[in-house]
Symmetry: C2
Subunit: 210 residues, 2 copies
């Protein structure tokens, strides 16, 4: 059993293996980093075809992070996946209320998902923040409603919910919005590690020390 055991060597080798799959796309250096980390997190090179990065998204995320912007996630797995030590070095924190008992009670009373109720409860705190959704289409639909109806203006939305009920539609709606820069994926694929990988990739663009 001979295999690479050194963490940075594993990561660097992984990025080398992914690089040729991105050659056909016209990507900036920053986009290559984001795409590579998303493919690294999924083990799926087909992501290259379906990733959609708004032209201002990476820059908007970097500026917000540098100012200590907080990150709001739909589920705990996205929070877990984000490098919180790195985020804290810029002054930011991750917030997630999906496991909050009050939110659970509200969601049950209204017949909606907990992650949807959680996003709603953040309200104006989302202004200038980064939203990272890796699981629940309902959370992304709710954020887009808040953008349209309540004038909420996050710095950027990383919207990568997963699945067969609403995920593709919610991401299409995100990609059509003209108010908030976004990073998303077309179709049913997605997930918490992919959403977290985008946030981490952008943080490492600002400062590559872990």
């Amino acid at each position: 059993m001979d295999f690479i055991k050194q963490p940075m060597e594993i990561e660097n080798r992984s990025m080398e293996i992914i690089a040729p799959y991105l050659a056909e796309y016209k990507l900036s250096e920053a986009e290559i980093k984001v795409y590579s980390r998303m493919i690294h997190a999924s083990g799926d090179v087909d992501y290259a075809k379906v990733i959609r990065v708004h032209p201002q998204a990476i820059e908007a995320m970097q500026q917000a992070l540098k100012k200590g912007a907080h990150i709001y996630t739909d589920v705990e797995m996205v929070r877990t996946g984000i490098n919180k030590k790195k985020l804290a070095s810029f002054g930011g924190e991750v917030h997630c209320l999906v496991a909050d008992e009050k939110i659970a009670a509200e969601a049950k009373a209204q017949g909606i998902t907990r992650s949807m109720a959680a996003m709603r409860s953040f309200g104006k705190a989302l202004d200038g923040a980064i939203i990272a959704i890796g699981n629940a289409p309902t959370a992304l639909f709710e954020v887009l409603r808040m953008v349209e109806e309540e004038g909420i203006r996050p710095a950027a939305i990383v919207g990568i919910p997963v699945g067969f009920v609403g995920a593709a539609d919610s991401k299409e709606l995100l990609a059509k919005n003209d108010k908030v820069p976004y990073i998303t994926v077309e179709g049913t694929k997605g997930g918490s590690p992919i959403a977290a990988s985008v946030v981490n990739a952008v943080m490492y663009l600002i400062d590559n020390t872990r």
Copy 2:
């Protein structure tokens, strides 16, 4: 924005959408539940082609869980994704040491990954337990070494590390082992939500209340 907001309705509808993609495979009812939840977690129906379930794996996991077996994970995201309330109802707990400072120091000193050092440190505690790996090929290689060289006998291994450096090789080695039942995925795809979904699917087979 008209969309399904009720959690169980979302899940049931998702399982209905996935079902036709499994029709061509000869799966047991239990296997259909496991496959469906893995596809639900990834948003990727192509998983159906690469999932490999050892004939005794689901039964072995159910028996172990009923006896209160503990679960050992390579990374915190797998722990986060496992329904711990459900697991506690059987008497089990999830253990993960990847963020432990002593483990981090050991890993650094030895030039290995933290999740590999963490798996090694569990030692004999892995006997009769369920191992769930969703990220690190090095953790899976280490567990397979412990099975071969130290006679460790987990009840089952859910081995679904992800990526381009070692993941496919480690999963191939797992599928070749004749000592421990396994659930795995061929190739580079995988991830923490997929590994957690297998554990959750098997728990819900025993008792479908959440």
